[in-house]
Subunit: 185 residues, 2 copies
DNA sequence: TGTACATCAGTGAACGCGCGTTCACTGATGTAC
DNA sequence: TGTACATCAGTGAACGCGCGTTCACTGATGTAC
């Protein structure tokens, strides 16, 4: 039956939030519309009053996730972010973590539309990180921002794949030390 | 109909090679037994005379791919490997490239059996890279090997997701410069 | 070496299942009077 | 403010499709004599 505009808007947000979590956990292909709708407390049919297709939802999830990530660059210090990024909690909690790590592998196989949204978001993120490097070191350094980002993403990815806490923690702290130690990388 | 033992063995190798390529391109879930069998010149039914299940095949693909990677550490210099790893060709050619980059994202969602094979392979690879660092710098340094690996993997992953040649090449050369420049990282 | 036959790799139809998407229907919402 | 009714968010059955896996069957292989 029909629901009020406020409730309907809340349902849309719930679908996005569920998709955001489940897609990070299981990938674009590993999650179904029914799964997402169920987590949002709806049936699969209702999905299509809010989104045109699964692909459109995925694009919106990626867009929002990267925008949130850029937002955190504005509001949190680099040191704090690196510590959180390479924490055991982040490695264990794939549902709420970094979309780059969770979705880069998927995105190259996803539809061109979703890929384009991701690529544009990545470009903006690098822009923002390069500005931050400028504040830290005195001169703008896009390359240094890129290398630090790649190291973070790679370390989180490998830590998650490590399975044993020993190797996982070793990877996380090696990367943390390297990224926090010197201004050079 | 029955075929000779030699032909049958060739078919098994062809299935493994096809799976190795297609799984890197499309992920474990994105490729079907029928796709793999067709690329090997067989029908899907024949698959099950060579492998118990799709999961068993995936485990074998991961095992072999990481073993090959470790083999290349033995036979190729670090400098040469970094240059090849961060080349445009490697970024564009996902079907034959590094299994860590192609499959890390998938592996955390795959079956525990496949995950365990991957994690064990990763551990062995880090062992081998740590030995190499020892030759390069005079003292064994597992942490330095881990950080360099994470940087490579992260850079290739992001370069592949970048979509525009400009950002892709920027990521590749930033990481290449950082990894080849100094013995410190 | 030649023959008879058991073996078994490969084929393709069939299975149950879950997927993304559609659609006729329901009934609360919210608007026009 | 109350009433009548058009709107439209949500439901759940249904669609065509592709998946992993099974299995009766085929016919070349390779072994026993």
């Amino acid at each position: 039956m029909k629901v009020s505009k406020e409730v309907s808007e809340r349902h849309r947000e719930a679908l996005l939030a569920a998709a955001s979590r489940l897609v990070r956990l299981h990938g674009f292909e590993g999650v179904s519309i029914a799964d997402i709708a169920a987590e949002a407390g709806l049936t699969h049919g209702a999905f299509y009053t809010h989104f045109d297709s699964k692909e459109a939802l995925c694009a919106e999830v990626v867009e929002q996730a990267i925008a949130d990530m850029i937002g955190r660059v504005e509001s949190t210090s680099r040191r704090k972010r690196v510590e959180q990024y390479l924490s055991v909690a982040h490695a264990r909690n794939r549902g709420v973590g970094c979309p780059l790590t969770a979705l880069s592998g998927d995105v190259v196989r996803a539809s061109p539309a979703v890929g384009a949204v991701f690529a544009r978001g990545l470009d903006h993120l690098v822009d923002r990180l390069a500005v931050e490097e400028e504040y830290e070191s005195g001169s703008p350094d896009r390359d240094r921002a890129i290398v630090a980002l790649a190291t973070r993403v790679g370390a989180l990815l490998l830590a998650r794949a490590a399975q044993t806490p020993k190797l996982r923690d070793e990877i996380l702290s090696a990367a943390k030390t390297a990224l926090l130690a010197s201004p050079r990388q």
